[in-house]
């Protein structure tokens, strides 16, 4: 009893600067603790390793790839459809390009797709969710959430295909198409959280002390939605990569000769079963990328889950 009084007395005598310092220290400690929790799970660490490796390989593709020129309009018909060998690790495609090199370059557009789409959809999706949730049961809520429901009425792939099909097929338009269909998932997630958080005492306290709406939305409610948002993002990036590969598989994404995993699989499918490596290795590359992000995502989810427990 005595101890707690003295410590609370002690705390009240701290200066603002000291409090901030303590806050920073505790935040650092929290990050350290989360990392410890994350690193204790070998599967999550493996996911992180896979993701980091993929990112590095894609980033340094021009230096890592054995035949960087093969990522462009290159032909070598003498060496076409060669099976995997010491010269061509994963074989060559129908016009003699090294598949391993093309996979490395293809991963670039996959990763770019995931990153660009998420950075386009998360801010507006989250903002709309915050607004609708905070103004629960008002016309703002009704308007935002009814529009959200409309976009959620059809699986995102179908509408993304439709939008991509009316635009000129290329990587940027396919990103637009997927982004246009992806924000509602974040709106709905944040909406659910915000409707619950708006009744918490700290929000009410901020309201009665006259805090601005922006302060309440971004400084009070938003910080409490970050961990579910991050968890969803880490799992979503894999989905976006899959959908992107599907768009390019049907010819609505990256255009040849630019390599992309989806188009490589689609081209290779024509040479099944005899030249199986043309389709199978890019397919495995997608599986590895998606697996990596999924393991990482699960690790992040568990990390935050145990934090709340």
């Amino acid at each position: 009893m005595q101890v707690s009084t003295s410590s609370s007395l002690h705390r009240s005598s701290l200066s603002l600067e000291q409090i901030k310092q303590l806050q920073r220290a505790s935040r650092r400690e929290e990050i350290g603790r989360n990392w410890y929790k994350f690193s204790r799970n070998p599967i999550s660490v493996m996911g992180l390793l896979v993701v980091v490796t993929v990112i590095l390989l894609a980033a340094f593709a021009p230096y890592v790839a054995p035949y960087p020129a093969h990522a462009g309009p290159f032909t070598d018909f003498a060496n076409a459809k060669k099976p995997p060998s010491a010269t061509y690790w994963l074989g060559t495609d129908q016009i003699g390009r090294d598949i391993f090199s093309r996979i490395l370059f293809g991963m670039r557009s996959s990763l770019l797709m995931g990153v660009v789409v998420l950075s386009l959809v998360v801010p507006p999706g989250v903002l709309l969710g915050l607004l609708a949730g905070y103004y629960h049961n008002t016309w703002i809520d009704t308007l935002i959430m009814r529009v959200t429901d409309i976009f959620l009425a059809v699986p995102p792939l179908v509408l993304a295909l439709a939008v991509a099909s009316v635009l000129k097929p290329n990587l940027w338009n396919s990103m637009m198409a997927v982004s246009l269909m992806w924000w509602p998932w974040y709106t709905r997630l944040v909406y659910g959280l915000a409707t619950a958080l708006r009744n918490e005492y700290f929000v009410i306290a901020a309201e009665v002390t006259g805090a601005s709406t922006a302060h309440i939305l971004f400084r009070e409610i938003f910080p409490n939605t970050i961990s579910p948002i991050l968890t969803k993002m880490s799992i979503d990036i894999a989905w976006v990569i899959i959908i992107g590969s599907m768009l390019s598989f049907v010819g609505l994404g990256v255009q040849p000769p630019e390599p992309s995993l989806g188009t490589m699989i689609a081209d290779g499918a024509k040479y099944l079963p005899d030249q199986w490596w043309i389709a199978v290795f890019p397919a495995l590359a997608i599986v590895v990328i998606v697996l990596g992000f999924n393991l990482l995502g699960d690790g992040i989810r568990d990390m935050f889950a145990s934090e709340e427990a």
């Binding site: 009814r146 529009v147 429901d149 409309i150 976009f151 009425a153 059809v154 699986p155 792939l157 179908v158 509408l159 295909l161 439709a162 939008v163 991509a164 099909s165 009316v166 894999a238 899959i242 590969s245 599907m246 598989f249 049907v250 010819g251 609505l252 699989i265 499918a269 099944l272 079963p273 199986w276 389709a279 199978v280 397919a283 997608i286 599986v287 998606v290 697996l291 999924n294």
Partner: protein
């Protein structure tokens, strides 16, 4: 009574959502550069034909009026002519929808049987090799897109092992049974054409399995975790204390409540199955609505695109209502709440 009210509310809301969707689709269809009338008659048609058609299609009117005409026709089931087939889109959809439904139905069936089965085994023998194997399988199922499964299955079961055919609904020399439901396997059975039934069943294995893989994995994961959750509940401990056998606990008291989340997810998955069918149907040359829609998209056949997406929206809405009904049937708490009008 209030269950009925709930149903009506849901149905009305679905109509509202579909209306909204129709606006979205209409806008998408109209942002496309190019003149739909010109596209419909081709590049070599004289200008006056195009102008006449523009008038007929109300393309000379403001966009809101255009939408009104489009919606009026759509409600009557008239989506105009398809550019690719030169037939009414509604006719094409009637022709192709059953094939997609059949595929989705089998995929859902496979997903439910194997997914729930694997989930139960996993929960029953938790942390054994069965559990580990099934979890590994689930992970593979979740991270592999269905079109990649399609390609791997074609390679393995189609070419290498030659167990299953890889193209179409029936073999070339097998005539399709006279149409009753449009589902070839069902029609063949009704009319006693057993060999046709077997042939069609053989053809549907690979495409439906490719579509189902992801759902099997999801269903197994959710069944396992929800059974594991429920296993620690007091009522199960109570059953054990009363000396009820483990088998009876599993089958009578644990399974039903544990299946509720699985069924909700599976219901939504069926809609997702229909959407990835867009690509899988093309790979297997399956004459379904999704392949039709895919072709429509590749050839910018706007009437067909709009109709296919609306049919998808409707199917999704119906699935959602069905799932709610099934879940309410399985979970008496929801029925009670609905009865109290909450």
């Amino acid at each position: 009574m209030s269950m009925l009210r709930f149903l009506i509310q849901r149905a009305l809301y679905s109509v509202f959502v579909l209306l909204g969707l129709s606006i979205v689709i209409f806008v998408i269809a109209r942002i496309m550069p190019g003149d739909p009338a010109r596209m419909a008659v081709g590049a070599r048609a004289p200008q006056w034909v195009v102008d006449r058609l523009r008038e007929q299609m109300h393309l000379d009117q403001p966009i809101a009026i255009q939408y009104y005409y489009w919606l009026r026709d759509a409600v009557r089931g008239d989506f105009g002519l398809s550019l690719i087939t030169q037939r009414p889109v509604t006719y094409d959809i009637k022709e192709t929808l059953p094939a997609s439904l059949e595929l989705a139905l089998y995929a859902a069936l496979i997903a439910a049987v194997f997914g729930i089965g694997m989930g139960i085994l996993s929960a029953r023998y938790k942390d054994s090799w069965i559990d580990n194997l099934s979890r590994l399988f689930s992970y593979a199922g979740i991270v592999t897109p269905s079109y990649i499964f399609a390609i791997l299955f074609i390679l393995l079961f189609g070419f290498a092992l030659k167990w299953f055919p890889i193209i179409g609904r029936v073999s070339e020399n097998v005539p399709l049974p006279p149409k009753i439901t449009g589902l070839v396997t069902v029609d063949a059975l009704i009319q006693g054409q057993f060999s046709t039934f077997v042939d069609a069943l053989w053809h549907i294995v690979l495409p439906s399995l490719s579509l189902a893989m992801g759902s099997i994995a999801q269903a197994a994961r959710i069944t396992r975790s929800s059974m594991a959750d429920n296993l620690t509940k007091d009522y199960i401990a109570n059953m054990r204390a009363l000396g009820v056998s483990e088998r009876a606990i599993m089958s009578r008291f644990l399974l039903k409540p544990s299946l509720i989340p699985t069924i909700s997810i599976l219901g939504l998955d069926i809609a997702a199955i229909l959407s990835v069918a867009f690509i899988v149907e093309s790979i297997f040359n399956w004459p379904g609505m999704a392949r039709y829609g895919m072709n429509a998209m590749l050839y910018k056949d706007l009437n067909a695109i709009s109709a296919v997406i609306l049919v998808f929206g409707a199917a999704f809405a119906i699935m959602n209502i069905l799932v709610d009904l099934i879940v309410a049937y399985l979970d008496p708490r929801i029925r009670l709440r609905a009865a109290k009008g909450e």
